[in-house]
């Protein structure tokens, strides 16, 4: 490793961002071609040694970055905040997709009674639902279904294991049933 390579390594490290070849040539008082040559040697050596850091050329710039082979451990180490758990609205949307799949956004919004665009894209990002074709009606809306990640998350082996929805949970809770309907079921409770 020569002096020029050392200097380039230090500069690219401290910068973090891509650095112009011309800028390094000025600072190190040499020809841009020499910079290219030295940076290339460094880059090749790092790749050959399969180091944790690499140097990549981006046009007339160079940048140091961590090796993509190490992306997993890097992400795991640096993630300070655990990603948030599913909010209740995400969980609702996911539930509707799980039971009614394949389902369009319009249909699930109809069931939930609220706009669900954000929930759908958020669930897509988390790999809990995925697109599965389009419904053959005007507008050809996208159909969604749950993913294998969904099954894993909920400890299910297949969709057949989805807990059965009891009739009660489908109906309006008793306290919200209008009076006339509620008393009908009770013998002798004539109005």
């Amino acid at each position: 490793m020569n002096e020029l390579e050392r200097a380039i390594e230090a500069i690219l490290f401290a910068a973090g961002d891509p650095v112009d070849t011309a800028r390094m040539a000025t600072v190190l008082d040499c020809d841009p071609d020499e910079i290219h040559k030295a940076a290339q040697v460094l880059s090749d050596q790092m790749a050959f040694d399969r180091r944790g850091i690499r140097i990549v050329r981006l046009g007339e710039q160079y940048q140091m970055c961590s090796s993509s082979e190490m992306a997993d451990v890097v992400t795991k180490t640096l993630e300070t905040r655990k990603p948030p758990k599913l909010s209740s609205s995400l969980l609702e949307t996911l539930t509707v997709v799980a039971y009614y799949q394949p389902v369009t956004k319009t249909y699930l919004e109809q069931i939930r009674g609220v706009d669900s665009g954000y929930s759908v894209s958020s669930l897509l990002n988390r790999h809990l639902i995925e697109e599965c074709g389009r419904l053959n009606v005007p507008g050809r809306p996208i159909l969604y279904r749950t993913t294998p990640d969904f099954l894993r998350t909920f400890g299910l082996h297949s969709l057949d294991e989805l807990p059965e929805i009891e009739r009660m949970s489908l109906e309006t809770p008793p306290e919200q049933v209008p009076e006339q309907l509620a008393v009908d079921d009770l013998p002798g409770a004539a109005p």
């Binding site: 069931i111 790999h127 400890g155 989805l162």
Partner: protein, 265 residues
């Protein structure tokens, strides 16, 4: 810096109002005095002086730091005690003298602490530039992986469903899974049942509707029988009527058109 320790008999007020012995350095005596744990009248200064001299004797040398501290404190003790003995009116003044003494003791400690700090400061000053040329860098932007990494209970799905139901105040369309075993599949084919019925009707001509269900083994077979009768009616293959007795009877008319039967399956 080792300090001489003193032993005084029955000077410290204990809880039981008995006086206990004291063991410790002079500044502790002063602290206890300031906190009214010791009465100045109980302290024999001559005893303290004796013990101090014995300490010097044992060490065989004079520690100027300790000596000056001792003289300062002991003289204060004598001063305070003599004031106490003179009149009770001077007590207040004596007590503030005590506080001053305490304060000067604290200041001495601070001064010493700061002197000690200079040792560390000198060491650090010499190293001030060592790391100034070591440049760290900004963290690399994270490559986001939003794959979901929690475990849920499958019952969470039911809770979510209940939430939707409660909010929507209307009946949700039941999902396909709710119809399983009812109409979703046809475990007992209607066509097969229709064929059985026709065979039986052809041989007997007329049969009670109720009898058609005899020997049916499952709910789905019952459903198939009912549907088969309705279907055969629709195809004008059989005729259902109510007799005088109120009993429904099924009468065979003709064999239905085969192709239409097949649509059933």
């Amino acid at each position: 810096m080792e300090e001489p320790k003193y032993h005084l008999t029955a000077v410290v007020k204990s809880r039981a109002e008995n006086l206990e012995d004291f063991d410790g350095p002079l500044d502790i005596i002063l602290q206890l005095l300031s906190k009214n744990k010791i009465e100045i009248r109980d302290i024999q200064i001559s005893l303290i002086v004796e013990q101090y001299l014995a300490y010097l004797e044992a060490r065989k040398r004079m520690d100027l730091d300790i000596a000056s501290e001792f003289v300062t404190m002991a003289s204060h003790l004598i001063y305070i005690k003599s004031k106490m003995l003179l009149s009770a009116a001077d007590q207040q003044e004596a007590l503030s003298e005590m506080e001053l003494l305490m304060k000067s003791l604290e200041e001495r400690k601070c001064k010493h602490a700061l002197e000690q700090i200079q040792i560390g400061k000198t060491y650090l000053a010499a190293r001030n530039e060592i790391g100034l040329g070591l440049f760290p860098k900004q963290p690399e932007p994270l490559r986001k992986d939003e794959r979901y990494r929690y475990q849920h209970d499958a019952r969470d799905l039911l809770k979510a469903f209940a939430m939707i139901a409660a909010r929507s105040e209307k009946l949700l369309p039941p999902p396909v899974s709710s119809f399983e075993g009812i109409v979703g599949k046809e475990p007992f084919p209607v066509t097969k049942k229709a064929a059985q019925l026709l065979k039986s009707l052809v041989s007997r001509g007329v049969q009670k509707f109720r009898e058609m269900f005899r020997g049916n083994r499952s709910r789905s077979e019952l459903v198939a029988t009912f549907l088969a009768v309705l279907e055969l009616c629709k195809l004008k293959s059989v005729f259902v009527e109510q007799a005088e007795s109120g009993e429904q009877t099924v009468t065979f008319l003709k064999m239905p058109d085969e192709t239409k039967m097949e649509e059933q399956t």
